[in-house]
């Protein structure tokens, strides 16, 4: 998100899902759509049947790789080098879109010099382990297609270098002019039904709803607490995005925008909002306990299983003075709580979700609440009343109307009535605005093409070899994590569906046949996987989907919780955890299950 927003001014899928089937080239990196976004997987395969070229970059031989024109089987964590190498090929053969670069971007000369100096295909091949010919072929296929879409997912972002990966991808799309037109763009596939909405609604420490910055100085909570000098970096991204729709008075200088916005929200909510930066989830579970909160209110999340280094998270939650968990089941996290509040499921409440293509859609109550459970907003409202806060919301629709009023640049025109049948894609600032299926193009008023932030900014991103935990003698394997088709996250929901358990009822760690043979592991064996942080037991699946030296686990199963092993190192820019690469060792379990 930070990466895409830095370049273009907005961090969401640029093109709609319905575009995919008619892309001429599709570049899938760090994403396994046939398992994680099956509907998108269907469309990609249909596009290939219609003649689209498919490029897959993934350390694993994922199902889509079987039908790909090129599979770039790079070493985990070397994506930046790979993408810069592709850029090198494009520039060397003059395949860039010169008109687009001249009209709509900034910083190309610098990028070209940087790439041509440091990222020759041969050196990239040495870093990534991908043959030079494959990199050339992929770059040519991508750059010569009339419309080429990039699709990425956690395999790109769940790295300490996640932000750099996305910047390098965005460079590729800009240099080939693949923005602001159908069947193209840069498209992050969001993993959960309303992860886009949770971001858009301001459930992030540094922004209010609609990405309106809560403070201007770019410091974190800990820098501010330590009295460090305020960095002069202003949150220009959000400020400019805000300007685009002409809602901020021009007289407000960029570094005062957040004061202006905070005042707006303070007035609307009847409270004085703090400009102290908030903690991120990584601060809440930081190795240093002084960074933790004293009380935590967790809604619909199971960080004990989903966060890296689970044992540590459990310890951090246990150490809290007070933990409230609000969920539909007694999850592993809820078991640690002081108070558990029963919430309603999606089928028992009204509201809206926002999908990966920015489409706001209506969720409707189909059945009455189970037992005494209440909708999350009702519980929050009841607490607000007890805490003497001056607001009294009566219905989801009324809450949504407040969202529209305070984030008009995204949602202003989205009344419940207009969302009724098919929803609308943001931005949709006014009630006569048709919504925005394709970002960064001519606006509906007929202005010239532009990025949400005006002009696309090229960034030079260098490959950092130290960004990943390196396998060594003690921990010779690289563990990467993935999700499976039949389950979802920590199985809070799918684990309660009998048939899905029947289809997949235990963790199966993928391991290459050669590694298995070397370690004497058979098809149904159980192994113990250990990292510097912990160890788990799991059964294996022997498959050449993973290359030698790499193993792959999901984090669905409490019995084999892969995140016990994961490295909690974080991306310095967007604070995403390094879940995709950890060094581990594997021992055949003495007692077979």
């Amino acid at each position: 998100m930070v990466g895409l927003a830095t370049t273009t001014g907005s961090g969401a899928m640029t093109n709609p899902i319905s575009d995919i089937e008619n892309c001429q080239a599709i570049f899938v990196i760090g994403s396994n759509p046939t398992e994680n976004h099956p509907i998108i997987g269907y469309r990609m395969q249909r596009a290939v049947k219609k003649g689209a070229k498919l490029i897959v970059a993934d350390p694993r031989r994922i199902p889509l790789a079987e039908i790909a024109d090129v599979h770039l089987q790079c070493r985990p964590g070397t994506d930046v080098a790979l993408l810069n190498g592709m850029m090198h090929v494009i520039l060397r053969y003059g395949l860039e879109n010169k008109e687009f670069i001249a009209e709509r971007t900034n910083g190309f000369a610098q990028l070209k010099e940087f790439i041509m100096e440091g990222y020759g295909v041969e050196s990239v091949a040495a870093i990534t382990g991908v043959p030079a010919a494959a990199i050339e072929r992929a770059a040519r296929l991508y750059a010569t297609a009339d419309t080429a879409g990039i699709f990425y997912c956690m395999g790109v972002t769940q790295h300490t270098c996640g932000t750099e990966n996305v910047l390098a991808l965005t460079n590729l799309a800009m240099v080939t002019g693949n923005f602001g037109k159908p069947h193209a763009g840069v498209n992050p596939l969001r993993g959960q039904n309303n992860v886009q909405g949770a971001c858009d609604m301001g459930c992030l420490p540094h922004v209010l709803p609609g990405y309106q910055p809560i403070h201007s100085d770019g410091t974190t909570y800990w820098q501010r607490m330590a009295g460090q000098a305020e960095a002069d970096a202003t949150d220009i991204i959000s400020a400019l995005e805000f300007d685009y729709y002409g809602k901020t008075p021009q007289s407000v200088p960029a570094n005062k925008v957040s004061d202006h916005l905070r005042a707006k929200f303070s007035r609307a909510w009847g409270v004085e909002l703090s400009d102290v930066p908030g903690r991120t989830i990584n601060d809440m579970f930081h190795p240093n306990p002084r960074r933790w909160c004293k009380a935590l209110y967790v809604v619909g999340e199971n960080p004990v299983l989903s966060s890296p280094d689970s044992e540590h998270v459990r310890a951090a939650l246990t150490a809290l003075d007070f933990l409230v968990v609000q969920d539909i089941f007694l999850t592993e996290t809820a078991e640690l709580a002081d108070v558990v509040l029963p919430a309603t499921s999606f089928a028992e409440k009204e509201g809206t979700f926002i999908n990966t293509e920015r489409r706001v859609q209506r969720v409707r109550r189909a059945i009455p609440p189970t037992g005494q459970s209440k909708a999350d907003w009702e519980i929050v409202q009841a607490l607000a009343k007890r805490l003497n806060l001056p607001w009294h919301h009566q219905s989801p629709q009324e809450i949504w109307d407040e969202v529209r009023q305070l984030s008009p640049h995204y949602f202003g025109g989205m009344t419940y009535e207009r969302l009724d049948r098919q929803g609308l894609q943001w931005p949709c600032p006014t009630e006569d605005h048709p919504g925005t299926p394709i970002m960064h193009r001519r606006s509906w008023r007929g202005e010239t093409d532009k990025f949400a932030c005006g002009i696309g900014q090229f960034s030079t991103v260098d490959y950092r070899p130290l960004a990943t935990e390196k396998p060594d003698e003690e921990y010779p394997f690289v563990l990467t994590t993935a999700r499976k088709l039949y389950h979802y996250h920590t199985r809070t929901m799918t684990g309660k569906v009998e048939g899905l358990n029947e289809l997949l009822n235990e963790e199966r760690m993928q391991i290459n046949p050669k590694d298995a043979q070397r370690l004497g592991i058979g098809a149904n064996d159980t192994v113990r996987v250990s990292s510097a942080r912990g160890s788990v037991k799991t059964r294996v699946a022997i498959t050449d989907q993973v290359p030698e030296g790499t193993v792959c686990m999901s984090f669905h199963f409490a019995e084999s919780p892969a995140n016990v092993l994961a490295d909690p190192a974080i991306c310095s820019m967007s604070v995403i955890s390094e879940l995709k690469v950890s060094a581990v060792n594997i021992r055949k379990s003495k007692r077979q299950v």
Partner: protein, 346 residues
């Protein structure tokens, strides 16, 4: 492409060039019986039930393009005879136990048989002697070969819609059937249980296990991945009994995956939390809402008074609605803390 005019049973019809006779007819409200044709799939022309006479020739309406000035007859002795034969051939080895069949009243075979009229006795000599075992290996989909009429819609759906290509025709004569690779049970094939074949099966050969009719349906959004597929929840007696893809949705156009189509029984699961719980001496005890909410509010107040407003943090969810998320961050921020995050980063 231009438009052309032609005639069906004497009625003048205007269509876009390239459209088939069947498409043209159904757009103009003229029924031509058909079984193996499905609007989502490429025309196959296998069952021959849609045979019509076009300029004196017998053609399958589902594959024959309409031509300018063409004269089409959907009936007449020859056409009727051919259609009836085609339907009787399909019906001969169809195990008809209509009242007990999940497809009763929604069955394509019933529909064409009713229109064309069949004589079941005529072809009894072609009937297979034994019933075949039902493939019940898949937890969600039951496959009854005795009802299968080999129209191939499931094969085409698996190839053209999902591109999974798990099934195809196998064997010949009476042994012919739709099969997985090496004729393994569905469960052991590359089938992903998405059910795209099942929802298109014109007869009762592919049915959801334990499926019952709904009392009403509610349009909403799937709760799993970020695709946000449109779904209709089928409800009966206050419980969700089924899901179908919303064909109107621009996201999925009616298609779903295994989780979206079958993964809803968690909603009515016995382990759902039904009352607030307060932990006392290490054990959870049920409490009233007032008791639980008072405790939470007092604790928040105490802790914030002692350690400052920022000592309170919140983790929101990528699973709850926008309205829930909005109000949650409004609560924490109104209490003076910006420490709000969620698992977008996970």
């Amino acid at each position: 492409m231009g438009t052309i005019r032609f005639f069906i049973d004497g009625r003048e019809i205007t269509v876009t060039e390239g459209e088939t006779i069947l498409e043209a007819a159904s757009k103009n409200g003229i029924y031509i019986p058909h079984v193996c044709h499905h609007p989502d799939l490429k025309p196959a022309g296998m069952c021959r039930v849609c045979v019509v006479e076009a300029d004196g020739l017998l053609v399958p309406a589902c594959r024959a393009p309409a031509a300018a000035g063409m004269v089409v007859k959907t009936g007449g002795n020859l056409v009727n005879k051919m259609q009836r034969l085609a339907v009787e051939l399909l019906a001969t080895n169809h195990h008809d136990d209509c009242l007990a069949c999940g497809k009763n009243n929604a069955c394509k075979l019933q529909e064409v048989a009713q229109y064309v009229g069949v004589d079941k006795q005529r072809l009894t000599r072609f009937q297979a002697q034994e019933l075949r075992p039902v493939d019940d290996s898949n937890p969600f989909i039951s496959r009854d070969y005795n009802k299968c009429i080999l129209c191939g819609i499931c094969v085409r759906a698996c190839n053209e819609i999902t591109c999974i290509e798990a099934i195809d025709y196998a064997f010949r004569g009476y042994a012919a059937k739709i099969s997985t690779l090496s004729d393994k049970p569905l469960q052991d094939s590359k089938c992903t249980s998405c059910g795209e074949c099942m929802v298109r099966c014109p007869v009762g050969a592919l049915l959801p296990k334990g499926g019952v009719q709904a009392a009403y349906e509610v349009k909403t959004v799937c709760p799993y991945c970020g695709c946000g597929c449109g779904v209709y929840l089928s409800v009966r007696e206050g419980k969700i009994v089924g899901v179908r893809g919303d064909r109107e949705s621009k996201v999925n156009e009616g298609e779903l995956c295994v989780k979206g189509r079958f993964g809803y029984s968690f909603v009515n699961h016995a382990e759902r939390l039904t009352a607030p719980l307060i932990k006392r001496n290490g054990r959870f005890e049920e409490a009233s809402w007032d008791e639980a909410l008072d405790l939470v509010a007092n604790k928040f107040r105490e802790i914030q008074a002692e350690y400052g407003p920022e000592s309170l943090g919140g983790l929101s969810s990528a699973r709850v609605t926008n309205e829930d998320n909005y109000l949650f961050q409004k609560l924490l921020r109104s209490l003076g803390s910006n420490s709000i995050d969620h698992c977008a980063r996970l």
